[in-house]
């Protein structure tokens, strides 16, 4: 028997009534807009999910429903066995939320005071609170900032403070909304490393919405791509390449100029003197292609260009538009 999924979403729907002015008239018509529809997915405990999509695709609407601050207009939704909207306060004890662009800390208070308030708010037993705080402060290198008012922290420090704040009560699920936005490369790297370790050590489930695809590549085993309110892809990152029809490029430098190379499984895109560009499906292995070329030609050099995941996702969005 398998355990029920931690997040279970079936045919989730949220429509909004908007009033729109009819062009050239004072009449306003009521319209129903589907922000999210026919959305079905489930997340098991300990997964790291990338929830991505263009602006306005329905990402935030979904997260608001998952956390219980927005009521679905249709479908089935369970998080940790609870109905989020009805059990918002109870659910809040079991989840953590981090926003890249908002802070959950108290602006005027020293960091330590924010943490102390959270301890009381989440009723965290003192020994567990101390242990968690010590650990996160050490891992995230916040020791020198504890007495600094939040408004005086740098973005990176504030972000680390926010992550600590979201984790003090050992949440089962951590929602991260653009957690690395505005951070420098070093800070981004450290944050990703921390999140990976958190997942490995504590089994915390991560749901990450981001536009930074490096976050996804570094953290997520699985991505759900949402567009126009519904999932257009759900699977491992590698599968995204296949579905998006993405290709890798083999750049071959021959010793002598030659006609376009003919090998099974790859097609020549471009020839420039002794250099040729061949594309092949991203999920196929490069080895047989390289082997075939090496057997027939004298090679000076070769390199492989990985597909740009942004292009892949852009293609997915575009195919969604056409549908």
């Amino acid at each position: 028997m398998t355990a029920p999924p931690l997040i279970d979403v079936v045919d989730l729907e949220r429509t909004f009534d908007v009033r729109r002015r009819v062009d050239g008239s004072r009449r306003r018509v009521r319209e129903s807009v589907r922000a999210v529809h026919d959305l079905t997915f489930s997340v098991g405990a300990g997964e790291m999910i990338g929830y991505i999509g263009p602006n306005g695709a329905g990402k935030s609407t979904t997260i608001k429903m998952l956390t219980g601050i927005l009521e679905p207009t249709g479908g089935h939704l369970r998080v940790a066995g609870l109905e989020p909207q009805r059990n918002r306060v109870e659910l809040a004890r079991r989840i953590g939320v981090v926003f890249g662009q908002r802070t959950t800390l108290w602006w005027d208070l020293p960091l330590q005071d924010s943490f102390d308030l959270l301890q009381k708010m989440y009723r965290i037993p003192t020994d567990r609170y101390r242990a968690n705080l010590d650990r996160f402060v050490e891992l995230l290198d916040l020791g020198d900032q504890l007495d600094t008012p939040v408004r005086q922290l740098s973005l990176g420090q504030r972000m680390r403070g926010d992550i600590t704040a979201a984790l003090l009560h050992d949440p089962e699920i951590l929602y991260l909304d653009e957690p690395t936005i505005g951070l420098d490369v070093v800070s981004k790297g450290r944050l990703r490393e921390f999140l990976r370790a958190l997942n490995a050590e504590r089994g915390t489930t991560l749901v990450l919405t981001t536009h930074d695809l490096q976050d996804i590549e570094a953290l997520c085993d699985r991505v759900i791509v949402i567009d126009h309110g519904t999932a257009v892809f759900d699977g491992p990152l590698a599968g995204l390449h296949a579905q998006g029809g993405s290709t890798r490029t083999l750049v071959v430098d021959l010793v002598d100029e030659a006609d376009p190379i003919s090998v099974p499984g790859a097609t020549v895109r471009r020839v420039e003197g002794p250099r040729q560009w061949l594309s092949f499906p991203a999920d196929a292995s490069a080895a047989p292609i390289v082997g075939a070329i090496a057997a027939a030609y004298d090679l000076a050099d070769l390199s492989i260009q990985e597909p740009d995941i942004e292009d892949v996702i852009r293609q997915l969005y575009q195919s969604g538009d056409r549908a």
Partner: protein, 265 residues
């Protein structure tokens, strides 16, 4: 206890604005002096207007100045923070927390009120005592009743201000509602003119509305116009409005989160 911690921090937060506090005390004192002379002139023309004598009237002025900021009569306080957080969408963060928003913001507002009572309440009163004849409560019951009526006045005021802040869920910005509500508060609380001077049905109406619980009722308790069972009745009037308004706050908040989108992504 969480709510005590919240209130303490709100107190501390407001105490960092020292210059604003001093400027406010000065303003309260100046208005207290102006109003005192106006009332003295008024009661010279009609020595028993509204059942007050001249000394009651001057006392009323200084009590009003002391309560003005304590109850945040025309808005301000933590409910302004809430309105702003609704406008920007930051209220989503408040909603992710395992505590009710009403209790949380009320605790913070009580902390703020405590600070404003100690500073903007007591300091101008000292000026008033030095410059004018202010009558003191003539019984321990009146003094105790007054001290009890202040937090109740704050809760009633908070309830109204919270509802005004919640209009931002629908109107996107609560500024207009806040201005309107402030004007109503100044008029119907007895701040502009004691409600006892309002004629006939208007007086009856004004004394039964929630705003009366903010200034008029505490002042009348101090002045000894409510004694015995009537004193309990006056406090019960405040408790009743506090309960009704806090109930409305919870209801409106539930409605807002169910029907309305929290702004921002």
């Amino acid at each position: 206890m969480l709510y005590v911690a919240v209130a303490t921090r709100a107190f501390r937060r407001y105490s960092t604005y020292r210059a604003a506090t001093l400027a406010g005390i000065f303003t309260n004192s100046v208005f207290g002096i102006i109003y005192s002379f106006a009332y003295i002139a008024l009661w010279r023309a009609n020595p028993s207007a509204g059942g007050y004598d001249s000394s009651d009237a001057v006392t009323y002025v200084w009590l009003g100045q002391a309560l003005l900021m304590t109850v945040a009569l025309w808005g301000g306080g933590t409910t302004d923070d809430l309105a702003e957080r609704v406008r920007t969408g930051d209220v989503a963060i408040d909603l992710y927390r395992p505590v009710g928003l009403v209790g949380w913001y009320l605790a913070a507002d009580l902390g703020r009120a405590a600070y404003h009572f100690v500073t903007r309440g007591l300091a101008p009163t000292v000026i008033g005592v030095l410059l004018f004849h202010i009558s003191l409560p003539d019984s321990p019951a009146a003094a105790a009743g007054f001290l009890l009526s202040i937090p109740l006045a704050v809760v009633v005021s908070f309830g109204l201000r919270f509802l005004v802040a919640c209009t931002a869920f629908w109107l996107l910005d609560a500024t207009g509602a806040r201005t309107l509500s402030g004007a109503l508060a100044i008029f119907f609380s007895g701040m502009a003119l004691p409600l006892v001077l309002f004629p006939g049905w208007l007086g009856t109406l004004a004394e039964s509305l929630p705003w009366a619980a903010m200034i008029q009722v505490p002042n009348d308790i101090w002045l000894g116009r409510h004694t015995g069972a009537d004193l309990l009745g006056a406090l019960a009037f405040q408790v009743m409005w506090a309960a009704v308004l806090l109930g409305c706050c919870r209801l409106v908040l539930a409605l807002a989160t169910r029907k309305v989108v929290v702004q921002g992504g």
